[in-house]
Amino acid sequence: MNKHEVISSGLLESYVLGTTSVEENELVHDLCIKHPSLTNEIELIEIALINYSSQDVAPINKEIKNKISDKIFSGTNTEAKIIPLTINDKSIRVYKLSIAASIVFVITSIIYVFSIQTKVNKLHGELSKTMAATTNLEQQLSSQQTALIVATSKLQILSDPKIKTVGLKGMNSLASISALIHWNTESDAVYFNASKLPATATDKQYQLWAIVDGKPVDIGVIDLLNDSTFQKMRSVKGAQSFAVTIEKTGGSNSPTMDTMCLLGNV
């Protein structure tokens, strides 16, 4: 068959209509390779048939295309998706759990840190108080020790059997005050001991005198730093009496008789 015989035979129309036999199909295929223009003829027949059956067709529901697309593409996709989805599900669950655990941990930690901080603050306050108290106690202890040392030394001085105590009586403005003189008759040491002496004017000072053979001997000015005064004075021999006068600061060479305020005989 030549090309024109093929075209006029109606074989190509049957071929496109799908009513040809397997042998006829193979024949057409071979002829198309031999005569490429036959393919063009076949396409024209095909287009004519396509246009014919497309004519006056009721509109196709637009959803059909999507339904087909879903069926042929989502089918393979869901298979491909399902596997990672289950994995995702698990890992999401793990993620969620670990995030929840982390949040709980962080919250617990914050609460714990706050409670510790509060305790630390409280303890810090207590520690400060305790330290202050300790300091206070230390100071007290220290002053007690000082007082003890003072008292011990006083006791040592006073318990000496050579000590002679002379009572001084207040005169004039100091009538209510009394004082003691502890005098070691062997070493001649003199201690002035008074619980309280009123303050003098700022330019004045108490001064102790020993009366030896009727003459006043200066044995020192009295320091009024503490409430009670226990003060070692200058040594003296053969005193018959002791007297305290108010003199200018630093003391005088001879007592002012007008200002004598304490006096006592041995």
Partner: protein, 186 residues
Amino acid sequence: MTKKITYNQDELINLIRQRNQRAFTFLYDNYSKALFGVINSIVNSQEEAEDVLQNTFVKIWNNFASYDESKGRLYTWMLNIARNLAIDSTRSKHEKIKSKIQSTSDTVYQKNNLYFDDIAHESIGIKTILGTLKEEHKIIIDLAYFEGYTQEEISKKLNLPLGTVKTKVRQAILTLRDLTKKEFFQ
């Protein structure tokens, strides 16, 4: 109205083999109407035709490995699938109806006659394009195109010599080609 199809069958076949989504879109956009026309002429309702069209494209796509371009045109292969599914659908419906009404045993079920009658009724006045296609051509082309009758079967059915059938099929398609050409030039 009529869309001109850009023919590049080999390229399209390759894209379908790659399961390319654009290939499906192209396939559907260019062939769904023509295949739907064929299906619609076989089945009885729009809904049924749409179901068959859907099954047709799913089958085209999923069974594409069985298509062999050396054994026929792509469109012809798709046309065969559409026709067979449409006929199956109608047959199963008829079977259901038949079993329901418990038809008598002497009922000879001849699918070709049955469907030919249906089509002959439905086709009247529907295909306006046939205004210029002779009625005898229309009957023959519908049998061949919509029903998949071979020329020998048409010859027997219409009691016409085979040579006449061949000529008429060719004449009918030539008329359709002229109409197509006219539309392009309009």
